[in-house]
Amino acid sequence: MAKGFAVRREQVLGVAGLLLALVLPNLAVALGKPDLVTLGTQIAIYAIGAVSLDLLIGYTGLSSFGHAAFFGLGGYTVGILAFHAAGEPMFGVIPGATEAWIVWPLAIGVAGVAALAIGALSLRTEGVSFIMITLAFAEMFFFLFVSLKTYGGDDGLGFRRRNGLPGVAPRDDVAFYYVCVAALAAVLFGFSRLVGSRFGRVLQGIRQNPRRMGAIGLSTYPYKLAAFSIAGAGAGLAGALHANLLRFVSPDMLHWTMSGDFMIMVVLGGTGTLFGPVIGAAVMVLLQSWLAQWTEHWMIVMGPVLVLVVLFARRGILGLLR
C-alpha cells in the first residue's frame, strides 16, 4: 500500500516536473526574466550529475567524494576536442571534433573509463577510506588540469561555439535548454530501468547488507565497480553539457567543493529516490543564486542550512514531502 502510494507520488511529481520544464522558457518570457532559461539549463545539467551520484550513494551505499573528477573529465573532453578542432591535432595525430554525436559519447566514455580505473583502486577500501581516496584522486586530476598549460591550466579553456546537433542552432539558448532537459529525461528513464533490473537489485542488496550479499554467493566488487563506472559516465555527460552551456571549461569543475556540491544535491533532495537529486539540484542552484544576490556572505547561511538538513531532514526534501 505504502509502496504503491509512493510510486504514484513519484509519477505525479515526474509529470508535474516535466510540464514545468517544458513551459519554463515561456514562463521566463512572461515573467520578464529570460535568464531563468539558463538557470533551468544549469539545474538540468547538475541534476544529471546528481542522479548519477545517487546511484552510488543512494543505491549502492558508496559515498564517493570525487564525483567532480568525472564531471570535469567530461567537460574537458569537449573543451580539448574543440581546441584541437580549431588548431593542430592532438599529438599531431588525433583530430579535434565539434559534432555532438561524436564528442558527447566520447566524453561519456572517457569519464566512464576513468571511473573504472579510479574505482578499481578505490573500491579496495571502504567507509571513510573510500570517501577520502575518491577525494584524493579527484584532487589529483584537479592539479593535473591546473598545470596543463596547453589547455589553459588554471585560466581554463574557452571555445567559440557549442557542439553541433542536427536541427539545433548553436546560439539558441532555449533550444539548448530543451536538449539538456531531454538528456535529463533520458537519464532518469534509463536510471529507473537500471535500478529495477537485476543489476539494480544487486546494488541495493549491497547497500543494505554487503556481508549478506557475500554469504549468498555474490562477489560484490565487480558490481560496485560497474556502478562506479556508470555513475562516472553519467557525470561525464553532465560535464559535457556543462562545457557546452558555458562554452568554457576550467579546473574549478574538478574542485573538491564541486564534489561536495553534488553530494549536497543528492542528500538535500533525498537519497535513494528517482527525483530527489533533481529537486536537490534545483534547490541548490536557486538557493545559491538568490542568496548570492542578497549578500556576499551567502555561505554563512548556506553552511548552517546544510547542517540542519543533515540533522533534521535525513531523507531530504522528498522525504519531508512524503
Binding site: 530501468r193 537500471l194 529495477g196 533490473s197 537485476r198 543489476f199 539494480g200 537489485r201 544487486v202 541495493q204 542488496g205 543494505q208 547488507n209 556481508r211 549478506r212 550479499m213 557475500g214 554469504a215 549468498i216 554467493g217 555474490l218 562477489s219 558490481y223 560497474a226
Partner: protein, 248 residues
Amino acid sequence: MTVLLEVRGLVRRFGGLIAANNLSFDVVEGELHALIGPNGAGKSTAIGLISGEQRPDAGRVRFDGADVTALPIAARVKAGMTRSFQITSVLPDFTALENVALVYQVRAGHSFRFWRPAAGERALLEPAGAMLARIGLGGRADVPARDLAHGEQRQLELAMALATGAKLLLLDEPMAGLGTAESQAMTDILAGLKGHTTILLVEHDMDAVFALADRITVLVYGQAIASGTPKAIRGDPAVRDAYLGEDA
C-alpha cells in the same frame, strides 16, 4: 557415510589472542552437527574460517572432496556452503519475497542485466515464493523485511541460506534473541531440514542442541576437546570439566 566438511589444524590468532588453536573436526553428509563451547571458545571464528570470511594462519578446510582453504566466499557458496549470521542479517528494505528472489537471481549467474525489471521475473519469484512457503513465511511474502517479527526475520534468513542450494549450512546461533515459542518454531524447522541438508550449528540453547544434533563437537580456547553423539558428550569428563569448571 561420506565426510562433507573436513577441518584440519586451523589456527587463527588476533594479536595475542588465539581464537582457533589447531582446530580439527569432520562433518558427515546429512547430519546436523553442533558446535558448542563456552563464550569466547572460538565458535564464531570457526564459522568465519570455514565460510571464508576470515583466513586461517595455518590449517586446511576441505569441502566436498576439494580443498577450499584459499577460495573466496563467493566461490565457496558456489561450491555449496553458506552461512547465516549471529546478528539478524536480511535486506531490510526489500520484502521477504524480494530477499529470497535475490538469492535465486545470484544463483542463476551473473547479474549484469541492466534493463529488464527484475520485479516481473517469474523465474525468480516462483521458486522464492515456494521457499517462503516451505519455511513457513508464505503469508508474509510482501512484507518488507524490516517489518517482520524477529523470529520471522530469522526464518527468512534461513530461507535465504537454503535458497542458495547449499549442501552445507553454517548456522551461527539461529535462536539468538528468540522467545520460547519462536525458538520452538525454529527447532521444528531445523528438525524438518534434517536429512535433506547437512547443517553445522553453533548454538547456545542447549535444549535445542541436544534435541537436534546428530553429533556435537565441543570447543574450548579454540580447540576441539571432544566430538561425539549427544549422549557421549553428556558423559565426557573433559566437557564437564570445561563447562562446570568455567561456571563454578
